[in-house]
Every structure is written in C-alpha cells, then in structure tokens.
Amino acid sequence: MPFIANTDEQRREMLTEIGMTEEDLFASIPSEDRCGELDIPDGLSEQEVRHHMASLAGRNRTDLMSFLGGGFYDHFLPAAADGIVHRSEFYTAYTPYQPELSQGTLQAMYEYQSAMCRLTGMEVSNASMYDGGTAIYEAIMMSLRVTRRNRVVMDETVNPIYRKMIRSYTRNLGIALVEVSHENGQASRSKIADALDDATAALVVQTPNFFGVIDDYTDIAAMAHEKGALLIASVYPISLALLKTPGEMGADIVVGEGQSLGMGMHFGGPYLGFMTTRMKYMRKMPGRIAGRTVDADGRDGFVMTLQAREQHIRREKAMSNICTNQNLCALTALTYLSLLGREGLRDVAQACADRAYYAQDRLLQIRGIRLRYPGHWYFNEFVLELPVRADEVIRRLLQKGVAAGFPLSAYYPDMEMSLLVAVTEKRTKAEIDFFSHVLEVSL
C-alpha cells in the first residue's frame, strides 16, 4: 500500500503485543455510525497518476501570449528560488512551535518581515496572511480595534474581487461599508472627503489601482487622519522598487497580494497576503509574527512572539481566527527579493513599466483605440477604450493565441468597450508588436 510502512505481518505482531484486534481499533465508533465501501476508484500507480495529471495539465491553455493581469501577474521566476523553497527541511516542517528545531523557518520569517518593511517603507510586518483580499479584510478589522469605530470607506478603484470579498466578510459584523465611485479612473478626492466622517475607522485605497493608475495618496492620508481614520493602502509590491512607498505617503496599514514576488499564477493560489504597519499599531496587528531574542548563553535566536493576540490563547476574543501564515509563500517572496536584490528588483519594475509604455504607444496608434483614462501615470497596466466590445476583441485574439487582457464589463457593467491590458518583463518587444498587429487587423 503506498506510503504505509508497516507490513501485514508487523500489524499482526503489533496488535498481539498490545492485546488488541483489528476490530478493537474502531470499537468506539458505534456500528450504526460506520459507512460501507466508498465509491472511489482503485488506487493509481505513480506512473499512472503522473500520466493522468499531465493529461489534465495539457488541457489548460498556458501557451497563450498573455496580457492578462488584474492584480495577478506573470513575472519571470529565477530557478534558484524554486530550488531553495523545495528544500524539504522547509516545506515538510510545520508551525515553529519548537523554536530550537525551527530556527530556519523563524529566521526566514524575521527576514521576510524585514524585507516587506523595507519595500513598503513601514516599520513592522506580520509573517503573512492568506492573500491580498483577506489581508485587506484583516486590515479593516485592525482599524476597528485601533479606532474603536465601525464604519469603513473603500475606493472603487480597489480590485473588485477584493471588494466582493470585503462585502461577504463584513456582512455579519454590523460594519457600515461605504464604496466611493472614482473619477476618470482615479480616487475622487471630493467624494472621499464627503464620505469620511468622525465615525470612519479606515479608508481603503489601492495603488497602482485596478485600472493601472499610479496614485499618490499623500493628500488622502491627510484627509483620513484629519477625521481620525486610518489609511489602508493596497499595493503591488513589484512597483515599490521604483514608486513612492505607502510609508512615504503616510499610510497606516499597507497590504497587498504578494504573488508577483516569485509565485506562479497557479490558477489562483496558493498566494501571499502581506501586511505592514506603524510601530504604534504593532500590538493590534493580526497574524503570526517572528521576533529576535536570545537564549540563556546570549546567542541570538528567533521565536514566534506577541502570541497573546492569537486564537490559541485568546480564543473567541482573539484579533483574528488565523492559525498559520502562508509560510512557504513568504519564504518564496523572501528568496525572490534576495536573489533579485536592490538593483534586480528595480530592473524588473522598470522593465515592466517600459514594456507597458511601449505597448501603450503601439496600441494607441491603432485607429479608434484611445486610453480610457488619459492624463495619469501608469505602472504596467492600463485601460484601452476600443471601438467594439472588448469581449469580441478578446474572442478574436484568442484565435491568434493572444490573451489580449481583461474585459472590464465583468465588474463594471458600463465598461463594455474597455480592455484592461497588463505587461510584465516577460513580454518581448516582438510579442507586443505582434499583439498590436493582430489587434489592429481584428477591428
């Protein structure tokens, strides 16, 4: 039997030694609670399962030339990161409950926290959360604890998938959730000013926003702070190698999706939610945290700390129900950031922006195509307004092996002609030229 060591002979011996029978093992389960034979196929050999999985994988289109983003990006992944993360001392371990046996995991958590603080311009980080959307939700809950208020304002340019998640999560908790519509693809200063009041715990914004627009929220942070609310900024971590950090803008809590830091798109997960904040909010932050301390001989070492916030101690009064972090994904992000380093990450960010601006130039030369939201700076994604329905263009380009982008009508019903186009460092000049050509002839 696969993955079971004991032979039938050993099982018999063991049962005899402890004076039990096979039937005794499950005697505590009343007979009426037992099930019959499961209707599940016979087991496959390793060869068969690999063949089966390969045939399933073969029915997914990963061969497309992709300009699809929407918060989830196809970045180049250095081979060394994979080699490190697949060391089984890391991936077959669990939560570092025994720090003496887990210094590898714990030091990596501390280094990850440090790297995320340095990237976002903040002072303290947790050891990661499930994904970018749940990280926003946890940040909102944290802002309620900090301000003891119960109302949240969220900008409409925050990823619509995350906004749907926030609506589900806040539904049972009596939180007043106000969503503010955008103006020309950007957070509307006047509408946000109107929406903020003295009961507001937090304002949630995103940069680059869902339309790809880079927004400096320094003024908005001041507006929120004037009302005693926190600014929660969701960010695309690659962009921070170049762009003004949320720390510099005055954000109080920074969150985001860390998939771009070395993880495959993997059809939606596992991903990485990150969260950093100011030192003064450290004890209100949810999630697992590693800290540096010493042993009895004065040697440096790392432990999980501030556990009095967590569910295993506080139970129903805990700051969050989260039990673990996304540890292996955090390790992936740390190895990615370490391998690329200070200059390499900047090269990646610059290359994304360069290729995206090159693509914008090419595509805007096509008759009938314009930028839906002109007058802004973009990072690696932008919205085109097409002369025909975006759905139709996507359909035609798929025939040519190109995933042209995302049709915004899926989340914004009045945007049927709008196509969200993303470009990463993986798209070559020749591919962008080809995309531009097939788009032009498809119209």
Binding site: M14, L25, F26, P30, D33, R34, C35, L44, M53, A57, S66, L68, F72, I84, T92, Y94, T95, P99, E100, S102, Q103, G104, T105, E111, S114, R118, G121, Y130, D131, G133, M165, R167, S168, Y169, G174, D216, L240, A241, L242, K244, M265, G268, P270, R288, A290, T293, V294, Q307, Q311, I313, R314, E316, A318, S320, T324, S338, R342, D354, W377, I394
Partner: protein
C-alpha cells in the same frame, strides 16, 4: 548566524532575469518615485543559495525524522505530488482566464480537477457539495460559520445568536465563530473526555445556531453520543459543524454526513498529505448537506450535460466571495493526486494504520506517563506529564529532551483540559521501527525524570540555540531589521 541583509555587498548582483532589449520608455516624474531604493540585499546567486541552505539545516521537517505533533497529522508528503502540482499546465495558468468570453474552454483540465476533487470529498465525507475555496483550516471554519449565519438569515430566524463549542476545541473554533458574528458558549467535557448529553442539554435553547465539534476530538476520542447530539441540535433548528482536522482517523470507516453533521471542513495539509510548509499554505475545503448547498461561496464548478465543466456565478443565496478564486489550487492538485494514488482501499488503510500506530504508542507508554483518558484512542493519544512534574520535569522539558534524541516533540499543553498535556499523533506513514525508537526515548526520559531530572531540564543541547527568552521577545519586540529604510 547573520541576517541575509548583513551579508550584502554593495553592487553585487544575483541572477539577471530581464533581457536588455528595450530602451527606457517609462520616465516617471521624481515626485512619484521613492526617495531611496528599497534596502534589499545585494548578493550573488550562490550567496543566497548558501544562506538559505544553511537556514534549512537549522530546521526539522517530516523528511528529517519522526514528527508526532498531535492534531497536525504530520504524515509523509509524497514527492510525486510536488512534481505534478508544478506541471507548467497548472503552474502558469492565469486565474482570470475562465472569466474571459468562452474562457472556460481554456482551463478545462483545471476545472475537471476541481470538479473531481469536489466529488471525491463528497464521497469521503458523505456530503452533498463542497467548496474548495477556503485557504486554510481556520478559513474553512469561518466559511462554515458564515454558511450557518446565512442559513438562519434565509429562514428569517434572528434569534440564532450563539454557537456552542466544547472546552477541548482548538482555539480557531471560537475565534472563527466570533468573527462570523456569533456569541460563543463553552461546553465542558464529561469524565470520559467528550461532550456529554447532560452538559449539552443544559446549554441548549432556541438561540443556539449550531454546535462545532471536532470529530474525533482533540483527545483522539470518538464521541459515542454524536448521533444523539446531532438530533438534539437539529431539534432546535441548529446546525452541526464537524471540524475535520482529525479526519485521518475515520477515512473509509465513517463519514460526518452519515452521522448527522451538516457542515464539515477538511484540512488537505493534514489528512490528504500536502506539505505544511512551515505553517502554510494550507487548504480547508468545506462540505455541506443538501439544504445548505445554496449558501456555498461563489463560484461553484459544475458539469454540463455535454460533459464540459463550467463555473457557476449565479448563486443568489451564496455567502459571496471568500477567496479571490477557486482555492489554493496548487495544494488541491497535490491532495487530488494523493487520493487518486491511495484509491478506495488505500484510504481505509490510512485510518487503520494511523489508529493502530496511536494505540501502539498509548499501550506501550501508559505505564510510564499518566493517561487521563485511558480508553482505546483513535489517531492520537494524549498523555499528561503530571507524574514527571512532581519530579520537576514539565511537559515542555520532556519535549526538549525528545529534541536531543532526534525526534520532533508532540504537541504540548493542548488540549487545555489535560494538565501538562503531551499529544502524540504518529500517523500511518511511520513504521514500527520508528515508533519503537520513539517509545524507547520516551521511557528513557521518564526514567531520567525520576533519577536525574537535571539531565532533562537542561535540554536541548544539540540544537543551534538553547531555550530562547520568549518573555523578552514579547516585552521588547525586535520584529524587523529596517536597514536604512526611512522610519517615522
């Protein structure tokens, strides 16, 4: 050992992933740029590989040795599942593809995996439908309790405010119920270590939205009254939630749905052999009975009459979005491959061997450590180090002494209802030889606790660091090295 940041050498470069084929097209105004570059390390690829290889050597995983961490099911993680999950046809698949026009045809293989996994879990758990979206066990609990809230709201019943949870439960149960908007009331366990009918009856009234039970419970015991408990809860239109963290004990033997549970979450990283990753990523699919399928999160994978698969977003009663997409797909793939390799008979062999191994340890150690609940256990057994504590040796000391003998310690101080708890879960993948070596080590520690307690209380001595000062860590937190990053 030095932090990776402290090994940095100015201008040293690692791998260069970006081809230099394009001129600079994006020149941002200075006001949009960060003041200083992010102070990330500057290292060669070899520097980085050596750093993390050294870190990995200070870690202990299942591949290093026996890891009987109770309630965590630290079984072997088959290498082949790592391989298949990383197939390019899965790894590079963009999650928004199915939302493109006729995009579901671009991801047929992935949708088939999700559909088939749903079917396998339904059969294993006796449920009518599953969502694979929850990203961890605790996330599954939250999803399940949100479904409870949606069910009662749909019936217009606003009196359902409270969830009952036994005192032996994992802390995530009350925490999840609380953030789904419920009050939590704790029910004490009876002398046999399970929720008794009297205690439940005393707590029961029509404000009870449901009961969360871990089955078998955290003492490794199957509650013989569980069917009656379900009936009592259903009588007040409450829902029964099964925390399936310990499903490994019951595979192919009994199914939560058959006993009367309405909702169950399973931990793919426990029962279905996917790696724990040092603490995630996990995956916590949730199954429900027929009357609750309308409340499952958006979206649900369905099979069309022509045999093709599609994502159904039209679920008006759904609790909504709980994850960005379809779950922890990379983890689901591993669990799917694992179940397909085990097959019907293999699943049953898992629980048979897991339960045998746990009882073997229980029986062999029961003369050396106190066993507060001495009955036949299921997948794990919980001892108490109270006898050793009388000699000055605590459960934590026993744990540290095991480290020096080459074993990962069991879970200690949990469940909370056992004084000086040592919670041991061997799993089915361990051999008799390993169990015997562990048993010998435990007996030796018990002997030393009486004869020479200092030999135990000064462990561990073989690790890169000794016992660390956790009080100082919490009192004066050092949580990050900020480098030259600007601080406020």
């Amino acid at each position: 050992m030095k932090l990776i940041f402290d090994k940095s050498v100015s201008s040293r470069r690692g791998p260069r992933p970006v081809p230099q084929e394009m001129e600079m097209c994006a020149v941002f105004p200075a006001g949009l740029l960060r003041d200083k570059p992010a102070d990330l390390p500057e290292l060669s690829e070899l520097d980085v590989v050596r750093h993390f290889t050294e870190l990995s050597r200070k870690n202990f995983g299942v591949d290093n040795g026996f890891y009987p961490l109770g309630s965590c099911t630290m079984k072997y993680n088959a290498k082949v599942t790592e391989r298949v999950s990383a197939y390019p046809g899965f790894f590079y698949l963009h999650p928004l593809l199915p939302q493109l026009p006729s995009g579901q045809t671009l991801v047929e293989g992935a949708l088939e995996v999700l559909y088939e996994m749903d079917m396998l879990l339904r059969e294993i758990c006796g449920m009518a439908g599953f969502t694979l979206q929850p990203l961890a066990g605790a996330h599954g609990e939250l999803t399940g309790t949100m479904i409870m809230a949606a069910y009662h709201r749909d019936r217009g019943n606003d009196r359902k405010t409270t969830i009952l949870i036994p005192d032996s439960a994992h802390g995530t149960n009350p925490a999840s119920a609380a953030i789904a908007g419920f009050d939590v009331k704790t029910v004490p366990s009876n002398a046999d270590g399970v929720m008794g009918l009297d205690a439940l009856a005393a707590a029961m009234n029509d404000t009870i939205a449901g009961v969360m039970l871990t089955c078998p419970n955290t003492l490794g015991l199957f509650n013989p009254h569980v069917r009656e408990i379900c009936r009592m809860v259903h009588d007040v239109d409450g829902l029964m939630y099964c925390d399936g963290a310990n499903l490994n004990a019951m595979l192919g033997v009994c199914r939560p749905g058959d006993i009367g549970f309405d909702i169950v979450h399973v931990n793919l990283h426990k029962t279905f052999g996917t790696p724990h990753g040092g603490g995630g990523p996990g995956s916590g699919p949730v199954g429900v009975v027929e009357k609750l399928t309308d409340f499952l999160p958006i979206s649900v994978v369905r099979k069309a009459a022509d045999g093709s698969f599609f994502l159904d977003y039209n679920l008006p009663k759904s609790i909504g979005y709980i994850a960005p997409f379809y779950g922890s797909f990379g983890v689901i793939l591993k669990a799917y491959a694992y179940i397909r390799m085990l097959g019907r008979d293999g699943l049953k062999r898992v629980s048979q061997n897991a339960v045998l191994n746990a009882n073997y340890i229980r029986e062999k150690l029961k003369d050396h450590y106190d066993l507060p609940y001495p009955q036949t256990c299921m997948h794990e057994c919980v001892f108490s180090a109270s006898r050793q504590l009388a000699c000055g040796v605590s459960a934590m000391d026993v744990a540290k002494a095991l480290i020096d003998r080459g074993f990962h310690p069991p879970t200690v101080y949990f469940p909370l209802i056992v004084h000086e708890a040592l919670m041991i879960e061997p799993t089915e993948t361990e051999s008799r030889e390993t169990l015997d070596a562990f048993i010998d080590a435990m007996i030796d520690i018990a002997r030393l606790a009486e004869q020479d307690p200092a030999a135990i209380t000064n462990c561990p001595k073989t690790t890169p660091v000794g016992r660390l000062d956790e009080v100082q860590a919490a009192r004066k937190p050092d949580l990050a090295s900020l480098g030259d990053a600007k601080t406020q």
